[in-house]
């Protein structure tokens, strides 16, 4: 009986992927970088290629449903990958991580660029283009994902930030690496945050999926309480589409950690959209990833950071925050409160299954581990 259900599940998923396929073609995507990875609920992988100014939707045919309810742990993830890349752990750079919700396989985009990581202000995409896609299965086995012959479709982003412009304060880093900083999927729309070549560079592209040619672009403006000013040039670092009273919103986090919401319906082509700043979580910090999870029947958001601990906030607090932060916040903290959780050095996050969030974490030994965080343990 169990196997029949399993077969049915596989069949359903195969059908749903096949439905997407008319929009896809077979071949090798012309990827120049794989800086951002994101799966949708059907197991289609979206790859943000900042260098190419494009987003690819790739059907990896990785559609075997996993019933796994355990976590996945690898003590020395970079060490394991080092052998594959023909180098040592110090050179392995993990750019992004995403879990296929169907198979629970964990995908990593990687390069051999970590030796160049010398500043706290660097992010992986500042250092090298991610060239290799790896898969970690639930048993912890790592293999390369070959993209020579896959079904894929693509959209080119209108007006991505120009190539060759040096970052204002990161020497030798081109702002093009931030053309795409984060990708999310909501109500059959793909949301792409990053930098455009508009006067107000921080932007959000929205495109319906399956891809056609209609990509809208809106420029974004926020008030950054810790800096006491309006900002339009710093891109969203990580975000989450979230429904408040059945209306889609974007909860976005920026460098130096303001937390801002945008109404999704305002993100229309050519619009300049102002956000509502609801929190300041701390200075000198890149928010790295946000994942929603359920604890005791209620949804929370877990956020990883470059310089702050792992933190949890309640999206209801975001919704119910009265007004907005519009004046300078002293001491870098203000608005919606978060709960710090044990977990320093946690970088990549994604939902693995109902029980676990998978993460990469820099350990006291200096090694980067793949760890699984129990949602039961993540009590806000």
């Amino acid at each position: 009986m169990k196997s029949i259900i399993y077969l049915l599940l596989v069949f359903t998923v195969t059908i749903s992927n096949a439905l997407n396929n008319p929009y896809m073609k077979k071949g090798k995507p012309d990827l120049k970088s794989m800086g951002v990875l994101k799966f949708n609920a059907e197991g289609v992988l979206f790859v943000g290629d900042s260098y190419g100014g494009s987003v690819y939707a790739i059907d990896l045919a990785d559609d075997q449903v996993s019933a796994n309810t355990e976590g996945v742990t690898i003590g020395d993830l970079e060490g394991q990958i080092a052998g594959i890349l023909g180098t040592n752990a110090e050179n392995v750079l993990i750019h992004d991580m995403a879990v296929n919700p169907i198979s629970q396989n964990i995908y990593l985009s990687v390069s051999r660029g970590r030796a160049e990581w010398t500043s706290r202000w660097h992010l992986p995409n500042d250092l090298a283009p991610a060239q290799i896609l790896l898969k970690v299965d639930t048993q912890g086995e790592i293999t390369e994902v070959k993209l020579d012959e896959v079904s894929y479709s693509k959209i080119s982003l209108p007006k991505p930030v120009a190539e060759g412009t040096e970052h204002r304060w990161k020497k030798g880093v081109t702002t093009r690496v931030d053309a795409i900083t984060s990708i999310q999927f909501h109500n059959n729309n793909i949301y792409i945050a990053g930098l455009s070549n508009e006067e107000f560079a921080a932007s959000m592209w929205v495109a319906p999926y399956p891809f056609k040619d209609d990509v809208s672009i809106s420029t974004l403006e926020i008030f950054h309480g810790a800096h006491g000013k309006y900002e339009t040039s710093s891109p969203i670092r990580t975000f989450l589409p979230y429904n408040f009273d059945n209306k889609a919103h974007i909860i976005a986090a920026y460098l130096c950690t303001p937390l801002v919401t945008f109404e999704a319906e305002k993100l229309k082509n050519g619009q300049h959209v102002k956000g509502r700043t609801v929190a300041e979580f701390g200075s000198g910090n890149y928010p790295l990833d946000m994942v929603p999870y359920t604890n005791n029947g209620k949804t929370y958001v877990l956020m990883s950071n470059s310089q702050l601990p792992l933190l949890v906030f309640d999206p209801e607090d975001v919704k119910n925050y009265d007004g907005a932060i519009t004046e300078e916040v002293k001491g870098y903290l203000g608005g919606v409160k978060y709960t710090p959780r044990s977990g320093s050095g946690v970088q990549q996050l994604d939902n693995l299954n109902d029980k676990f969030i998978v993460a990469t974490q820099r350990m006291p030994s200096g090694k980067l581990a793949l760890v699984s965080l129990s949602k039961e343990w993540l009590i806000p």
Partner: protein, 378 residues
Amino acid sequence: MAHTIRLLQYFLFSILLFGSVSAQTLTADTDPESTTFGEFYVSLESELISKLREKGDDVDFSSFFYITIDDANKILGSYILQGDTIVFKPRFLPDVNLVHHAYLNLHFLYKTVGLSLPDSMGRQVSQRFNFKSYDKIKYASIAGISPKISSYPANILRLYLYFDQPMSFQNPYDYISLVNQQGETISEPFVIIPEGLWDESKTRLTIFIHPGRIKRNVGPNTGIGPVFEAGNTYTLKINSAWRSAADMPLDSLFEYTFDISSAVRAPIKPELWTITPPHEGSVVALHLKVNEYLDPVLLPKMLSIYSNDSLLVAGKWKSDNSNWQFKPASDWIKGNYTLKINPKLEDVCGNTVLSAFDREASENKLPRPILEIHFEVK
């Protein structure tokens, strides 16, 4: 030669481990100048190769022929068959700091082609490869310092360090220091250009002595004082940790001790130069005697010789401090010539024919400089 040694190592290895010599050989291209650098090869008996060809795309080469760094994961790459050889092309160039292990698992190879492994053969052969070819990469060393004169004027502005190979993009000033005769390190003697001021080949570094400390009555000069005092001795020290572009350190600590004489604060005076012209029909050098320590790097670009019909004479300048020689590329022809002096010519203290680098206000009005010297080849 290296190839032969590797083969010999392999055979000895096989005999030691398996008691017999098999026909399979593992090799790699370890020549960094080769277009196939980093490829690994295994040569097989033609029967095995034919069977592999028959199986075509079904063959998983990595199941029996693979390379590892850590003996855990196989490095990424692709396989092709070339004659009687399986070629492994790695995705990335080899990391020369790491030892690579190549493995040929005979058990899986024979299983793949559907043959039984002869009893005389071991199940697996392996070979270590090192891509750091020490015979090609040697320690960097300092080939010279310029100008090399008995004493430097106290207001010397530039020194040139020559290396025998291209150097890395490290901050040179992390490795260069200047000490006085008491052994004390001089503070802030140089203009710090973190990536260094290099020539195109990255073998010549220009060291600028802090001009603000040389020029009288400007901030650093009145505050910290000049770098050099006439009559004293100094030592330029170069730390051997400085690495070449090939990531090799210097062969030893480099020290160069020199005396300091009085500052030279006068324009270059070509009217005091003397030219000894050569005779026609030879490539004998023209001799130019000057009274200044002319900048040895600038001079060949700033002095040129023209024949009577305004044709540039090709040739090379070389110097023995105040004696310069110009050797023409072809024979001198009888006639009148002109030595033209570009006014941007400087001596090692930054003085030009137009003015001194650091002059009194009263010296502002200079006579029109001489920019041409005529001579005759007889």
